[in-house]
C-alpha cells in the first residue's frame, strides 16, 4: 500500500479526500474532504440526504466512490479493501437502522462479534475461551443487557437493539467506530447513558457519530462537521457551528 503523496499531518485516523459518489447522475457526495484525528470524537450533522450515511458506506467499503481517496490510519487504502477486510483492519460500524442477528440470542450475537481471525474452518471448531466469556459478560454489563443474554435478539425493544449493536461494536474492538444515529428511538435515559458510553470510549478509540438529536450532539460534541449536499458546509466546535449563519439557514433553522 502506497502512502498518499501529500501526507496529512500525523495522527489522522481517517482521511477522506475529494470523495465523490453519484447515483444516476445525482451526487450524494460531492468532493467531500474530511479528516479525523486519532482518539477524536467527531460529530457529523446535516439535513436528511446530506450524504452522511453514504460517507460511512464509502469508509466501510459498501459503496465505491467515483473518485477520491480514503485512508485509514494514514497507511491503509480503504478503497482497495473489501468490507470484511476493512472491518478486520479496525473499523466498526453501527447502522442507522439497528441491525442485529434477530434469530440468535443476545449472547450469540456478541459471540459472533468477537474480534479475531475469522474463517469457516476455524469457526467450525471454535470454542469460547474463559477470557472471551468474561469479555462478553462485561459487554453485557456495559450495555445493560445481562438479563436478556438468553433472549432472542429479535424480541428486544428498539433501544435494546441499538445497545446490542453498540455492544457488538465494542466486542469487535475497532480503532475507529462509525456510529449512525445511535439514539434514534431511545428513551431520554437511554440517550443519556449512550452519551456517557460514547464519551468513555473516546479516549481509547476514535469515533465518528452521526446524529440529528442536537441536545445529544451538544452533550458529547467536541468538534462538529456539518455536511450539506455532499460537502462540508462548516466545521469547528459546537458553539461556532451553531452560530454559523449558513448552518442556521440550511439545517438548524432560525
Amino acid at each position: 500500500m502506497i502512502r498518499p503523496p501529500d501526507l496529512p499531518s500525523p495522527g489522522k485516523i481517517l482521511t477522506l479526500d475529494d470523495v465523490t459518489v453519484s447515483f444516476d447522475g445525482f451526487k450524494a457526495l460531492d468532493g467531500l474532504t474530511l479528516s479525523v484525528d486519532r482518539g477524536e470524537l467527531r460529530c457529523i450533522i446535516g439535513p436528511n440526504g446530506a450524504g452522511k450515511t453514504t460517507m460511512m458506506d464509502v469508509v466501510t467499503g459498501k459503496t465505491r466512490p467515483d473518485h477520491g481517496s480514503a485512508w485509514f490510519a494514514e497507511d491503509v487504502d480503504l478503497l482497495a479493501l473489501s468490507e470484511p477486510e476493512i472491518a478486520q483492519a479496525g473499523i466498526g460500524r453501527k447502522f442507522q437502522k439497528p441491525t442485529v442477528f434477530e434469530s440468535l440470542t443476545v449472547f450469540e450475537n456478541l459471540e459472533l462479534a468477537i474480534w479475531g481471525d475469522k474463517s469457516f474452518w476455524k469457526d467450525l471448531v471454535a470454542r469460547l475461551t474463559r477470557a472471551e466469556r468474561r469479555h462478553i459478560d462485561d459487554i453485557l454489563d456495559v450495555t445493560g443487557l445481562t438479563t436478556e443474554r438468553a433472549a432472542l435478539a429479535g424480541t428486544l425493544s428498539h433501544g435494546q437493539k441499538q445497545w446490542l449493536e453498540i455492544g457488538m461494536l465494542l466486542m469487535q474492538e475497532p480503532e475507529l467506530l462509525l456510529v449512525d444515529e445511535p439514539v434514534a428511538g431511545m428513551t431520554p435515559d437511554e440517550t443519556h447513558r449512550t452519551a456517557e458510553l460514547l464519551l468513555s470510549l473516546a479516549a481509547e478509540h476514535s469515533l465518528i457519530v452521526v446524529e440529528h438529536d442536537m441536545d445529544f450532539v451538544r452533550s458529547i460534541a467536541r468538534r462538529v462537521t456539518v455536511l450539506h449536499e455532499g460537502r462540508v458546509l462548516a466545521d469547528g466546535d459546537m458553539g461556532r457551528v451553531q452560530n454559523d449563519p449558513l448552518v442556521v439557514e440550511v439545517y438548524l433553522g432560525a
Binding site: 468490507e83 470484511p84 472491518a87 441491525t99 442477528f101 434477530e102 450469540e108 459472533l112 471454535a126 457488538m168
Partner: protein, 396 residues
C-alpha cells in the same frame, strides 16, 4: 463406577433435552436398522409382520429423501438460501453410482459386451468414453459421488455468492442450472444413456441386488448414513460457523462489517449440503433400480422444498420427518387416488406457506408453548426438573 454411570446418564439427559426431536429421529433410525432386517429376514413370508421387498425399497427410498431434505434444510432452513438445484446434486450422485452399477453388469447385459454398457453398444460406440474409466472400482465411484456434486456446488456457489446473487435470484439460477443439466443428460451423445438412463442393475460389491438380503443391507446403510448426516448437520449448525451462517440470513451486511467473509461460509455449507444430496442420490439408485434424466427435473427440487416446509424448516429432524410424511402420503395417494395427488400436493404447498410457516414442528412447538402458558405447565415443568436434578444429585 457409579459416578461414571451417572455422568453418562447426565450427558444423555442433556443431549436429549437439548435436541429432543433429533434424539427421537436417531432412536427411530436405530429402530429401523434393527426392525427391518428382523421383519424381513426372520418373520416368515406368510406372517403379517413380514416386510415385503416392495416395502423394503419404499423404506429405503424414504430414507434417501429424508437425507435430501436434511441437505436442503441445512442451506434453506438455516441460511435462507433456497436452492432449487438440489435435485441436480441428488441426480449427479445417483448417476455416479449408476455408472458403477452399469459397469458391474459386465457381460451379463443384453448385448453381452464385457466392457461397454448396453446403451453404448446400441449406439455403436466402440470404446468406453474416458469419463467412464475407473467406475469399475467401487472406491472410485464413492469418490465421484461426493466430489462431483461438491465440485459443481463449489463452482456455482463461488460465482454466485461472490457476486452476491441472493434470494430468489439464487433460486431461479439454481433452477436453470438443473434444467440445463437435465437437457444435457437427455442427449444420447453425452454418454449417460440419454432418455432411458441406467437400469437393469445386477449387483453391488458382488451382492445380488434382487436379493432381499442385499436390500436389507442397503436400508440399514441408508439409515446409518442418514443418522451420520444428521449428526454432522447438527454439529455444523451448533458450531460458531453454523451460528454465523444463520446470522447471515438475518443481516448479511452486519456479518460483513463484523469482518466475516460471508461468501466462504455460505459456500462451504452449500458444498457440504450438495455432497449430502449426492450421497442420498447414490443410495437411492440401487434401491429403486433406475436413474434417468427425469431426476434432474426442477419440480423434484421444489418437491423437496415442500418436504422441508411441511416438516419445519430450520429443524433438521423436522425436515427428515417431512420428507417421510409427504412421500408416504404420495405413495398412498398415487396408489389409491392418483388424480387427487397433484391437488393434494398443490394444496399442501399453499396451506403450509400460508398457515404453517414453521411446519409441523412449529405447530408442535406452539402447542407446547400454549400448554406451558397454562398455569399447570410451569409447575409440572418445575417439578419435573426438580425431580431430575435431585435424582441426579442423589445418585452422585
Amino acid at each position: 463406577m457409579l459416578t461414571r454411570v451417572v455422568r453418562v446418564g447426565r450427558r444423555l439427559w442433556t443431549a436429549w433435552d437439548a435436541d429432543r426431536g433429533g434424539t427421537v429421529l436417531l432412536v427411530l433410525l436405530a429402530g429401523v436398522a434393527i426392525a427391518v432386517p428382523a421383519l424381513n429376514q426372520l418373520a416368515p413370508a406368510s406372517s403379517a409382520l413380514h416386510l415385503s421387498t416392495y416395502s423394503l425399497s419404499l423404506i429405503g427410498k424414504y430414507l434417501c429423501y429424508a437425507m435430501l431434505a436434511l441437505a436442503l434444510d441445512l442451506v434453506w432452513g438455516y441460511g435462507g438460501i433456497l436452492s432449487l438445484g438440489h435435485a441436480a446434486f441428488f441426480a449427479l450422485g445417483g448417476y455416479a453410482m449408476g455408472m458403477y452399477l452399469m459397469r458391474q453388469i459386465g457381460s451379463r447385459g443384453v448385448y453381452g459386451d464385457p466392457i461397454l454398457p448396453d446403451f453404448m453398444v446400441f449406439l455403436n460406440w466402440q470404446k468406453l468414453p474416458w469419463f467412464w474409466v475407473g467406475f469399475n472400482h467401487f472406491w472410485f465411484a464413492l469418490l465421484v459421488i461426493a466430489a462431483l456434486p461438491a465440485l459443481l456446488a463449489l463452482l456455482f456457489g463461488w460465482f454466485a455468492f461472490r457476486s452476491r446473487v441472493t434470494g430468489v435470484y439464487f433460486s431461479i439460477m439454481t433452477q436453470a442450472l438443473s434444467y440445463a443439466l437435465m437437457l444435457a443428460f437427455f442427449r444420447n451423445d453425452m454418454g449417460f444413456g440419454g432418455n432411458n438412463g441406467f437400469t437393469d442393475f445386477k449387483d453391488i460389491l458382488g451382492f445380488d441386488l434382487h436379493e432381499d438380503g442385499t436390500r436389507v443391507m442397503l436400508v440399514v446403510v441408508t439409515a446409518a448414513a442418514l443418522a451420520a448426516s444428521y449428526l454432522a448437520c447438527r454439529a455444523i449448525v451448533g458450531s460458531r460457523a453454523g451460528r454465523l451462517f444463520r446470522a447471515i440470513r438475518d443481516a448479511e451486511s452486519r456479518a460483513r462489517f463484523l469482518g466475516y467473509r460471508v461468501e466462504s461460509y455460505k459456500l462451504w455449507v452449500f458444498v457440504f449440503s450438495a455432497v449430502l444430496a449426492g450421497i442420498a442420490g447414490a443410495l437411492y439408485v440401487p434401491q429403486v433400480g433406475i436413474i434417468n434424466p427425469g431426476e434432474f427435473a426442477p419440480i423434484n427440487s421444489i418437491e423437496a422444498v415442500i418436504w422441508v416446509a411441511v416438516g419445519g424448516r430450520g429443524t433438521l429432524f423436522g425436515a427428515a420427518a417431512g420428507a417421510v410424511l409427504v412421500n408416504y402420503a404420495k405413495t398412498y395417494f398415487t396408489g389409491a387416488l392418483p388424480e387427487l395427488w397433484l391437488y393434494a400436493l398443490g394444496a399442501l404447498f399453499v396451506l403450509v406457506t400460508l398457515f404453517l410457516p414453521r411446519g409441523l414442528v412449529g405447530l408442535g412447538a406452539s402447542r407446547r408453548r400454549a400448554v406451558q402458558a397454562g398455569a399447570a405447565a410451569p409447575v409440572i415443568w418445575a417439578l419435573g426438573s426438580h425431580v431430575g436434578v435431585s435424582l441426579g444429585s442423589k445418585l452422585k
